[in-house]
Symmetry: C2
Subunit: 349 residues, 2 copies
Amino acid sequence: MDEINRSSLKTIAQELNLSISTVSRVVNGTGKISAATRKKVMKALEKHQYVPNQIARSLKTNETMTVGVIVPDIADYFATVIKGVDAVLASKEYSIILVDTNEQPEKEHHYMRLLYEKRIDGLLLATVDPEENKWITEYKKKNIPIVFFDNEPVTSEKCDAVMLDNIKASAMVVNHLAEMGHKNIAIICGERSESTAKERSDGFRIAMKNKRLPVDLALIKEGSFHLESGYQSMVELLNNRKEHPFTAVYATSYKMTCGAIKAMREFNLRYPDDIALVGFDFIDEYGLIEPSITSIIQPVRNIGCVLASRLLESMQNNKKHVEEDVYTVTQTIRLPPELKVGASSNKRI
Amino acid sequence: MDEINRSSLKTIAQELNLSISTVSRVVNGTGKISAATRKKVMKALEKHQYVPNQIARSLKTNETMTVGVIVPDIADYFATVIKGVDAVLASKEYSIILVDTNEQPEKEHHYMRLLYEKRIDGLLLATVDPEENKWITEYKKKNIPIVFFDNEPVTSEKCDAVMLDNIKASAMVVNHLAEMGHKNIAIICGERSESTAKERSDGFRIAMKNKRLPVDLALIKEGSFHLESGYQSMVELLNNRKEHPFTAVYATSYKMTCGAIKAMREFNLRYPDDIALVGFDFIDEYGLIEPSITSIIQPVRNIGCVLASRLLESMQNNKKHVEEDVYTVTQTIRLPPELKVGASSNKRI
DNA sequence: TTGAAAGCGTTACCAG
DNA sequence: CTGGTAACGCTTTCAA
């Protein structure tokens, strides 16, 4: 039959015959307080197990110490990005409201509004909506910092963004394969409406040209970043192999890489002997897959850390009412990928 | 040079020469409002792009529409649990504050306090702290519902919990292996301070006895649920194989399973031919690993859904001020595991 | 159908 | 050093 116990400054103040202000001051360690009252108050605080009400505080201070994070799928590499974000943000006493949109662009607006209702101090957004503009403008108007990641935003607003250097990623892949003696390289990419897909694809063409390798359009497959699409693309490539021969294939997402592997197995083809394979985001932490797969690896945790740091900065500037034109300087940060060379491509032809 | 735009009920009310109450009523659709004023207000709301301030609302209503979720590691199978939680909770307009403790029990208290400061309406807690008691009691006193998952809580408070039926999981493994003709079965388990580890281990012994199979203590390895530990345990088992022979091994976590595989490879042993292997949480979604590994699979998404539903119920009861003894009825829900039989054990000896 | 006012728990300013 | 008071934005009761 315990009493429900939710003490407030008032409770404590009344019990001690002190003013709320005084109690507030010792809680926050602000202002000058006599040692005697401080001790008295501390004891009462302890006795009542006082815990400040951040809601009330937020109402007053216009700061919730909370940031929103919107991702298309937590059970993806985003989980590790979030770990990085969380590490940085938690150290500054911020917490994260996490939203998973299940890759449904239409949900983004709804959640952005919900988060705004909760008065988040900042937003990290991995959008999959090619028309994310509307709510972005709203946020800008409300003066809430946003940092984009994964896909580059299409909005015309100036925005911060942290992304992988996808152009470079494709260059690394092409250069590596070229070094191994490959000339005819196929690529399996996602939808060009997503900047990640577009950049990986464009980067591929650029790198091929730089290496003076032939770009055969029939070897450039566009799909949707999913297993089924990767599988389908690979099947088509293999079926057309006589007319459009290739010796290496570059799959530009984790799921597509899996799909490509699946197709190759069905065709009874082995890597690297029959076809060299380079994947994307293919992390086999414990080396269970043999032969091991060469893959572009994103610095996922670091992406999270950089994201969080950038957001912290913006939120800080916001507080300090930094002059607008100083504040408005935005950055697009591109982090370098790593090419982890495994057996699947590590053979000179 | 846009104005920063944060309209409130007051802004609207003043512009329209109406009272705040009236505007509030049309925002919430409560009370009786004349069609005329409603229309007028709606228009102003739209014009100002009014978005209610949930912080202020929360202060008044004592509801934040937010629940805390504490997990040891998001980049684990918890990601999928959270997806389930999120799906259910989001449909009721709740959002999730996510905390990753990095498996450090000492952080749990700190975060529980932080979340309480934010006045979450409920908490989902996957604790790894064998002494999580203190703050639990606090939450109970504050009348905030908690639902545990993964590990069973040790607190003496009555609590809700949703867990895998670990005893049954081990029974399924033993029965399967027994059917395949195995008699000497080794098990690699985690620390008994975590209930998951304890139950999997106990379940194993019980099932062995039920099947009248010999329980050789030297074949029961205790470690820490991590790769290194799984590896180490397997190495020891293999080194003692002459004195303590076994034909099958059961690894009780994902990482341990990977460790065991690693050790077997180093010893040049193949499954199922040399030793049969059954793992835990070993999901190879795209069937990339060959031969495929038999494993206990948790209904991860469903765990999340059940968790969220249970919490919603408690929060609901809380609101309705249900009489204490009705409210206090708590449940421990055990969800059934699945044994996904792969090649690694699917051979009669 | 509408308005006035109290109050949720804080912070911060101004007096003393 | 301490107290009083206004204000943050909202909901809700009571009156009109």
